[in-house]
Symmetry: C2
Subunit: 208 residues, 2 copies
DNA sequence: GTCTATAGACCGATAGAC
DNA sequence: GTCTATCGGTCTATAGAC
């Protein structure tokens, strides 16, 4: 390991990769929800499209790397385990719709078995599910009691049920052993119970 | 309205459209999770790609029509209101991953404001949310009490939470007024409560 | 090793023949 | 109105300049 600075055989390449990654990140962040071509990214770093692709092997590989870089940055900021107790991370996403769009696009495309991100997403979901399951089983950290039933209302429950249905399809495409119908029926029942309990606790809706 | 059969000025066009729609449906149903090009569909009906697009105006419009046709068929089979109480519909999806993939792809692409399916999806979510909210507020139909807490376990809760997070991003892209962080935090708390209650009811997990 | 130039394949969209 | 021929754009692959 040289201590002389960026002089090793791969130093330039690594630096270039990093530069391209940042350019791509910026391009998507600015893109609103429109598409980004490899050419767009290449222009930002003063290369041709082929030059950019040289460092990643292909377009989809590049995009996968962008997402992975984002994951890594988030993990660095928030730590690995905390996601469950820090939904503020999601609020941060709201500043960069382009990157949200990239995530949604890629996770759809990754359903294809031959897609470069296929394994990445498969493993990501496995790890995430395991981690969430453990955290949920352990319960909330001390001094963080779940709020009562504040805000548990039909409109919210409807959003959740629809979102879970859509999102579960993505997981199912990568792991067909998931029983979507049963999973969602159970969620519906749990939401109904929560709604009933919230109504019983705070029965002053519109009649007061 | 002519009673003489397919002889009106648009009869041929309507028939062609129908034929193309069916070919596209079949192509996606067979496609596993791989992509389908307009060319693929065109070959099935013995046209060039441009010939197919002529009837729909563009590729994305064609795909939107495919999805709308599928929605209409489902509504015909199950009725409009029943979706909540008939998650079996989801089990049916499991037979045609290609169409599930199409849905996921399109709903991602439709986030773009200029996308032909943008309004379709925006309205679809609005209608669906309203319908679900009403149904959830009304509670289960008579003779259909929610099951106790059977199957409420951490692995299931993890799948739901991740799915809801992913799916909510899609809704948010179309309606940025949604507060993702708050919505998901609430769901987490409700799931935690459900898990706690299930554990209290049936405390024989692994210790018996 | 890094990158450009170039050529090929595929795709979707536009202009115009029938 | 229906459809084909053709065009421009994008990604990939390869050869070779630096």
């Amino acid at each position: 390991m040289s201590t002389r600075g960026p002089r090793g055989p791969y130093a330039k390449s690594a630096a270039r990769r990093q530069l391209i990654l940042e350019a791509a990140l910026a391009a998507y962040a600015e893109a609103g929800s429109r598409g980004v071509s490899v050419r767009d990214i290449a222009e930002r770093v003063g290369l041709t499209d082929a030059g950019v692709l040289h460092h990643f092997g292909g377009r989809e590989e590049l995009l996968t790397a962008v997402l992975a870089a984002r994951d890594a940055a988030a993990a660095r900021r928030y730590g690995e385990e905390a996601a469950l107790w820090r939904p503020e991370m999601l609020a941060e996403n709201a500043d960069t719709p382009g990157l949200v769009k990239l995530f949604v696009d890629l996770s759809a495309a990754a359903a294809e078995e031959a897609h470069p991100a296929h394994e990445y997403f498969t493993e990501r979901y496995q790890v995430l599910r395991q981690r969430y399951a453990n955290a949920l089983a352990a319960g909330p950290p001390a001094g963080r009691p779940p709020e009562p039933d504040a805000g548990v209302e039909p409109e919210w429950a409807a959003r959740m049920l629809i979102a879970a249905t859509d999102g579960l399809q993505q997981q199912w495409l990568l792991d067909p052993s998931i029983d979507m119908a049963e999973d969602i029926a159970r969620l519906r029942d749990v939401l109904l119970e929560a709604l009933a309990r919230a109504a019983a606790t705070e029965p002053r809706e519109g009649s007061d």
